[in-house]
């Protein structure tokens, strides 16, 4: 029942006015990379698949809908036996994705396609948003560890749990959120709060008690009273008094306030002087890709970043705007394209049930994505003529390129066809794409290169014909 009410009113309308026999194709795409970045990361597909496979209406749902007083009993009876009978095509989860290309295409009877709209968007929007943000933060951390500390500032429980999942796909190392660890097998981490220190009679007592319980994993929070005059000295003292006699080393200290670059440098020197060169410094407190970049430019010797609210809400850009637009209607076995016109040219949709290819040069770099008609298979034995829709007058060719079709049929007639990858596979897939396929120029934060979305000549012609027809009609 996670749907917008209009999906129900429309479904009932379709049910009443039409036979639910026409199949339609809906594309899911987004228009703008978050944070003015060069790309996004596709997250949420597993959750979408689970939703679609389990979609049904139970007695309570039917009763609730009946109580609205606008739905016919025939329609309610139909819903009672409803299950999704359509097909789902999608990019693999974890794919690098770009604006205006269909990342998911739902091909299904009208009603089936209409009522999954909101859930598909919500799940994709949320997880893609957080995976993309997490990856930006991980890139800024430049090889250092990033841990998710976001649960308490997440937009409720699912946002914490699925957000942790998405952050892991994006490259975060661990989460503090126990439920996410339990549900997805992400490694959980956590140390102590200020309350641990404040509960005890002194900071030294607090660290000592913690070291006695966790001699192997002690990370002391050193900013409760005074980092340099109390926190770090007490941490060193407990390392010497308590841990060393047990043959243990202090694992780390955590800074959670103040001037993190300055404090980390001072603390590093104090730790090193005490022979604790292997003690890690962890920093937290409203971090994101921008503050982490700044800390590293300042030479802050920080080994681990605990990132919370700015990751789990994608604070600097908290809306991922994927939309769900009808692209085609199948009438008597023939797909008719549909296009959404807008006064803003960039909001005109790419019509038709179509394919997306990623085009790689001979070094394996993804140089463009390409929209084609459904029946087209690029011939790679010779230079491939394509259209840049922003400069259709140019005669352009892909030479010595390979083409990978990005959308895969994963659900057919309501049945899952494939085994979905594990979370670690998704995380590795993101890493591999960024290391080998995606230009570094698309990965920088400032004015990244804009990935091309080109069209096959046939596809471009179809779109132009459609636009001409519509504007002639008027």
């Amino acid at each position: 029942m996670l749907m917008d009410f209009y999906e129900m009113t429309m479904a009932h309308g379709y049910f009443t006015q039409h036979e639910n026999t026409d199949r339609v194709a809906f594309d899911v795409f987004f228009r703008r990379n978050p944070d003015k970045g060069g790309f996004a990361i596709f997250g949420g597909l597993e959750q979408i698949v689970e939703y679609i496979l389990n979609l049904h209406f139970d007695e309570r749902d039917i009763d609730f809908l009946r109580a609205q007083g606008i739905f016919s009993e025939e329609f309610l009876a139909y819903l009672k036996d409803f299950s999704f009978t359509g097909d789902v095509y999608a990019f693999p989860e974890g794919s690098i994705i770009y604006p205006n290309e269909p990342v998911i295409t739902i091909v299904a009877p009208l009603i089936d396609a209409q009522i999954v709209e909101t859930a598909v968007l919500t799940m994709m929007n949320h997880q893609s948003l957080i995976a993309t943000k997490a990856n930006r933060i991980v890139r800024a951390a430049d090889g250092r560890i990033v841990a998710d500390f976001g649960a308490r500032r997440a937009h409720n429980v699912d946002a914490a749990v699925y957000g942790a999942r998405a952050a892991y796909i994006g490259g975060v190392q661990s989460t503090a959120t126990v439920l996410a660890g339990q549900q997805f097998g992400i490694s959980v981490s956590g140390t102590m709060a200020h309350s641990w220190v404040m509960y005890h009679d002194s900071e030294y007592e607090a660290f000592k008690a913690y070291a006695e319980v966790y001699p192997d994993g002690a990370v002391f929070l050193v900013d409760t009273y005074d980092v340099l005059n109390s926190g770090v000295p007490n941490a060193i003292k407990v390392a010497k008094d308590v841990l060393e006699p047990m043959g243990k080393r202090l694992k780390g200290i955590r800074l959670d306030s103040g001037d993190l670059a300055y404090l980390a440098k001072k603390a590093r020197r104090m730790l090193d002087k005490a022979g604790l060169e292997d003690c890690k410094i962890m920093a937290s407190n409203s971090l994101d890709e921008y503050t982490i970049t700044s800390l590293l430019i300042q030479g802050g010797p920080i080994d681990i970043f605990g990132v919370g609210e700015r990751l789990i809400t994608s604070k600097s850009d908290p809306v991922f705007g994927a939309v769900y637009k009808i692209a085609g209607v199948e009438k008597n076995g023939v797909w008719e394209p549909r296009i959404k016109i807008s006064e803003s040219v960039e909001k005109i949709t790419n019509p038709g049930f179509k394919k997306v290819y990623r085009v790689y040069n001979e070094k394996g770099r993804a140089i463009a994505d390409l929209l084609t008609l459904l029946e087209e298979v690029p011939d790679t034995t010779e230079p491939y003529r394509y259209i840049d829709p922003e400069q259709p007058w140019r005669e352009l060719y892909f030479e010595n390129c390979t083409f990978k079709e990005m959308k895969q049929l994963i659900i057919k007639d309501g049945k899952l066809l494939v085994e979905l990858p594990t979370l670690d596979e998704l995380r590795q897939y993101v890493k591999d794409q960024l290391e080998t396929e995606i230009w570094p120029e698309e990965q920088r934060f400032e004015n990244p290169h804009r990935h091309y979305l080109d069209m096959s000549p046939g596809y471009y012609q179809m779109k132009m014909d459609l636009l001409n027809r519509i504007f002639r009609k008027k």
Copy 2:
């Protein structure tokens, strides 16, 4: 299991190192009003109460924790039988709240108090954020209807559903999210998507089909092709051709793109000219309190605002930063205050297990909030001497004022003492406070008046003594 892992490591530490007999008091408070506003609205309490009353660890939870390899079997056995045994004091849900005052105080054995931290914060942060944002938008709409359209851009399912609940508390009229309607009894609303129009062979056919199914509630989306040349004329035509012969009136049209103020004015004139003066105009598309204010200043004749992404993510300020800080420890029946020191003066906590009074003048306006020691009851028979902690040198009195204690004991020894209000009561409570108690000067968007948080002389003295003692110690 919605908790940060450190709550478990600390709980285990407390279990191992101490007897779980000391009771502690944790305060939940926030430091900054969202969007530079004058106040926030407290949401999420019902969800917190449900969480606390149901908190337990099942076999799978215990197995997951055991697999972490750091918890003793004694502790795991203890968790197996765990239930929350403490007390919860809280402001009524829907209360207007201000920075740095304890909105919730958890008084419980150490472990009980520690492990509810994250869930309490997540639920309060999310719902308070959205209730506050929704109320800003409702205030901007100045009596016009606001509907929640946010689900697809919410941070996953809970964010959509509990966000709709919070938005309703904040004053929104209805939600498009069916699951929220079902779960909380909020009235649901919804019309049609562009896909309805695009599926049909023409816009006229689409409107006609919809009017035939919903003669009483037809709201036509008029911007699929061209608002003024196609959408509004087709809407009028269907009102005449289809609805009027049935004795029905067209309920409304919806604008979802373009220059909303301009289009609404033009559309209004066309509708009026056609005798459809009672047809409402609804607008949507990235609206929030700022765009709505601008539309109304321009004289846009809009009756209903559909608000989505900027409401459900609180886009302009998506983090509500309530924190959970230890305020006191009960030793042998005596409460010892605890304070968190910080180099930033505004981050020094208000120590001790304490009370909050709201102070009203003779006209019933809330002129300040007041922190007192636990045992203090203000004597209202004579002027009440209080301290403004920012100007402690001034001799200040509340005269002819009444005092309302804001925190109520709602859970005692793990049992719920009170009946929680209905959602409609919460919404009315918000409305009543804003109409009668809260200064208009605190409700404006630009430079709102800052509500005072004063202290009783006894409370102020306690805090100063504590600070002196700490800084003397060093």
